[in-house]
Amino acid sequence: MNKPLMNIRSLKKVFKLSSGFIRAQERNLVAVNNINLDIDEGETLGLVGESGCGKSTLAKIILRLEKPSAGNILFKGKDIISFDRVQLKAYRRNVQLIFQDPYSSLNPRKTAAGIIREPLTIHNVADNKKRDSLVEEMMLKVGLSAQHAKRYPHEFSGGQRQRLGIARALILQPQLIIADEPVSALDVSIQAQILNLLKDLKKDFGLTYLFISHDLNVIRHMSDRIAIMYLGEIVELSSNHDIYENPLHPYTRMLLAAAPVCNPRIKKNVIAVRGEAVAENNRGCAFQNRCAYRTGICSEQEPPLADRGNNRYCACHRAGEI
């Protein structure tokens, strides 16, 4: 068992929303609610959930692009929430992000080589000559060739742009990569190329991934462990195998039932897929209004993410009996 690279403890983020113009009313939106999660060194932790469930907010807090309302995050034992500017800069060398949309996350006025080189300049790594060779080396690693160096982002295809984004993220040799829907904007034949590349790079550089996606096929292919998020909370956390073969939480089961199977002969199992992810309950389980197994206690008490043995965690009062 590897040691954890990052420990997330009781993390909470509340956004204040105001609605109404004349008589503005304030409303709290709990985007991330009491999350506890360890990311082990060398693993790929998959994070799945529907839009608005808080996956990207969690990623932003980990990168310290948002401040949490409560809780803390330890990176190699140090609390990143209390970092000052100098510490933060050093931290960000170790934790990098790959974005969903390679079109909007690259500076259109910089060449490919310039984009990959920028982090080296910002963090003052190596001298000019060495930087050139580092950039060239990295371009080859991600499957771009030296002739691409002087091109601008608009001259690349979607898949090549994503390679460029990956090169930029890896140039500082970080330890943790947060990949936020890295293949969602790509066509399926290109998606496979990028997923293979991410696997290769993980081996070559000894990376740890937090891999965020809504695509259950992609998550299954990439992850060692998987966390399922629903309305700001982690409702299930297990190994890849257990999530797909033996899911405990009713929401995990609904997600799996809803995912289309690439085989016309497999008729889907008939778990009712219903309702939408809307926070309407003040008390009890967040999933109760969509749940087929709901009983009295579900509207009274919020189920904690409890240990169910064999490194399986599930936040459901009825896990095990249903």
């Binding site: 034949s189 292919h221 809803a258």
Partner: protein, 323 residues
């Protein structure tokens, strides 16, 4: 089974600043009554332009340069603009990927549906309103009376797509063109919308042209599949045949690049090398030539035709074609 929609040798071209491109190139297909035909392909392969050509709604810099589109035996390409307008929305309806951009943001949704009903069925305002509420109920919107008074921004993405479907279904079309109807939606919402389209299709004996890039959706929701590549149909067959015995190297490549379907032993996905060719400078010969592992010299010289290689299974590939 008679064809409800029969497309023959359809060619749609666009004049752009960079030159002339053929977005839909020599496409022939037939949709039978009550059938769902899936069109799969990657972005830019011409699937949306095919649907817009059927509606005769292609952007102004494009034109239908040849072929025929016959709907219930009538040639759509010969119809006047006025005749087409009457057909759109009543006989052939269309739903899009992003419902928010197809709904009018400043008109209540009930009124938007009622408008379509008044225009096509000539009903009085009050009857049209009552019917619009029935339509909302039909597509599974809770409290339709109250929801009819909502504006589009008050609804979730899934609810908006339901409203679009209610509007499309309000005049009982014979054919529904659904262009990536669930791509913007979450997977649990997607499943509900696909079920809804399927239920409405069965109830009204409607045909559906379902455009998608998701091979899972095609497997679950269609009876027949056409795979498009760079403007052409490269393979067409019953859904069972195409998933159990894909013949065109591109179709096979697509199937193999889906995670969790066929990863090899080392946990890597098979990939199709390279990317889709630009329509601006297509080389002679097969469009898949430079990405294909089976290519031989004939492929670079001559373009293969779509030929029947097994009953109902059409492929355009020199390796699969008999001669």
């Amino acid at each position: 089974m008679p064809c409800l929609l029969k497309i023959k040798d359809l060619v749609t071209v666009f004049n752009t600043v960079k030159g002339k491109i053929t977005a839909v190139d020599d496409v022939s297909l037939c949709i039978e009554e009550g059938e769902t035909l899936g069109i799969v392909g990657e972005s830019g392969c011409g699937k949306t332009m095919l649907a817009l050509s059927i509606m005769r709604l292609i952007p102004p810099n494009g034109e239908i340069a040849g072929g025929s589109i016959s709907f219930r035996g009538e040639e759509l390409l010969k119809k006047s603009e006025e005749e087409m307008r009457r057909l759109r929305g009543s006989e052939i309806a269309m739903i899009f990927q992003e419902p928010m951009t197809s709904l009018n943001p400043v008109i209540r949704i009930g009124e938007q549906i009622a408008e379509a009903i008044r225009l096509h069925q000539g009903l009085a305002a009050r009857d049209a309103h009552a019917l619009s509420i029935r339509q909302l109920e039909e597509v599974g919107i809770p409290e339709p009376q109250r929801r009819a008074l909502d504006y589009p921004h008050q609804l979730s993405g899934g609810m908006r797509q339901r409203v679009m479907i209610a509007m499309a279904m309000s005049c009982h079309p014979r054919l529904l063109l659904a262009d990536e109807p669930t791509t913007a939606l979450d997977v649990t919402i997607q499943a509900q919308i696909l079920d809804l389209i399927d239920a409405l299709k069965k109830k009204n004996n409607m045909s559906v042209l379902l455009i998608t890039h998701d091979l899972g959706i095609v497997a679950q929701s269609t009876q027949k599949v056409a795979v498009m590549y760079a403007g052409k149909i490269v393979e067409m067959a019953d859904v069972d045949d195409i998933y159990s015995a894909p013949k065109h190297p591109y179709t096979r490549g697509l199937m193999e690049s889906i995670p969790a379907r066929c990863p090899d032993q080392n946990g890597y996905l098979k990939t199709i090398p390279g990317s889709v060719p630009s329509l601006y400078d297509l080389a002679p010969g097969c469009r898949f030539y430079d990405r294909c592992s089976l290519a031989f010299d004939k492929c670079s010289r001559q373009e293969p035709n779509l030929e029947e290689v097994a009953p109902g299974h059409l492929v355009s590939c020199w390796k699969c074609n008999s001669n």
